[in-house]
């Protein structure tokens, strides 16, 4: 079982996005886009997909899948975990 920790995701977000909040404020339930969220924009989204590809070796190509995965830190963790597991089982 691959484990992706909250700190890994915080680092991913800090390294790739222009955050307006302190990293320690990012929690699992924090949403990424829209009101009351981290306030990411489309350039952050692009940078984040690049960062994920570099760090985890998985590419996001489908906008619908991206929308689902990038809803919150938690959905991102779940999506990344699934991708990592399917890579391992392949």
């Amino acid at each position: 079982m691959t484990t992706i920790h909250l700190d890994d995701l915080r680092k991913l977000l800090v390294d790739n996005c222009m955050l307006r909040v302190a990293p320690e404020e990012i929690q699992m339930e924090t949403t990424l886009f829209g009101p009351g969220s981290l306030g990411l924009d489309s350039i952050d989204a692009l940078q984040l997909t690049v960062g994920i590809e570099k760090s985890y070796g998985v590419a996001i190509k489908d906008p619908a899948a991206a929308k689902e995965a990038f809803q919150s830190v938690q959905t991102l963790q779940q999506w990344l975990t699934r991708q990592q597991e399917s890579k391992l089982s392949a």
Partner: protein, 280 residues
């Protein structure tokens, strides 16, 4: 309104529609002084001496450009291509295409930039144009159908933060994706130095070119005195990411702006920049 423009362009000679459109452009400028002053402020980023008359001239020229837009939209691609009589640097595009890659074509609100789509498809290059949604869905559809007559696709980038994935897919497939860069977007604004001030460009898409490992190709399409068009394709730029995102965007936006400035300075009347772009 657009259907009416197309109807008029179909039946009247081009010189007549140009004269009519130029007249209406002048009339619009005379009755919309606030909008004219926005254009004047934009022109003054190039040269402080641009006054109201320079700004009014932009509206006159825009009328002619609209006449040309409808003219080419109501002719066959081969007929429409005759309006471009001078092409410079097209070999850059062919070379990229032969390498199996696509490219990001960046241009400004300058001249009849839509002609670039025609030029690319008629040269055998797969082309798509990025656009923001028009004021109405009907107009967005109309313009998409217009471009598709030349087999140039339209990719609408609205508020979807993941639209770039669709663009990335097209770039990787070898499509030449054209976009306008010389206008800020609420979530995408990079300052660039113009001769007499700082403007904001929306340059975030340059990062996508870097990510997809395709070149950025600046290009312009300017109307000459005789009414024909001059296409200029500049040398491809390969984006290399710098220490930060903002540094990358600043560096390459400036590089592109520096290429456009001489063209803008020579043809300020064709810079159809109707929203304020001065950086605050």
């Amino acid at each position: 309104m657009f259907d009416l423009g197309a109807w008029v362009a179909r039946w009247l000679p081009l010189r007549v529609t140009r004269a009519l459109a130029s007249f209406f452009g002048t009339l619009y400028a005379l009755t919309h002084p606030t909008r004219v002053s926005v254009v004047q402020r934009n022109l003054q980023l190039l040269d402080a001496s641009h006054g109201l008359e320079s700004a009014r001239r932009v509206y006159r020229e825009f009328g002619k450009t609209l006449a040309d837009y409808f003219y080419i939209g109501t002719r066959s691609p081969a007929e429409a291509m005759k309006i471009i009589n001078h092409i410079e640097g097209q070999e850059h595009l062919q070379k990229i295409h032969e390498s199996g890659k696509g490219a990001l074509i960046v241009t400004g609100h300058l001249g009849l930039f839509e002609l670039g789509g025609l030029l690319m498809t008629q040269s055998g290059l797969p082309a798509a144009v990025l656009t923001l949604p028009e004021p109405s869905n009907a107009l967005t559809d109309w313009r998409a159908r217009y471009r598709y007559r030349w087999k140039a696709d339209t990719i609408e980038i609205g508020t979807d933060s993941f639209a770039f994935l669709q663009i990335a897919g097209r770039l990787r497939q070898g499509t030449f994706v054209a976009t306008l860069i010389d206008r800020p977007h609420p979530s995408d604004s990079t300052p660039v130095r113009l001769p007499n001030g700082i403007a904001s460009f929306s340059a975030g898409i340059l990062l996508l070119a870097a990510h997809c490992q395709v070149p950025v190709v600046p290009a312009t399409m300017i109307r000459r005195r005789d009414g024909s068009y001059h296409a200029q394709v500049f040398d491809p730029i390969f984006i290399e990411e710098r220490s930060s995102r903002s540094e990358t965007l600043r560096l390459y936006s400036q590089q592109i702006a520096d290429l456009f400035v001489p063209v803008l300075a020579a043809h300020p009347e064709q810079w159809y920049q109707f929203v304020p772009i001065a950086s605050s």
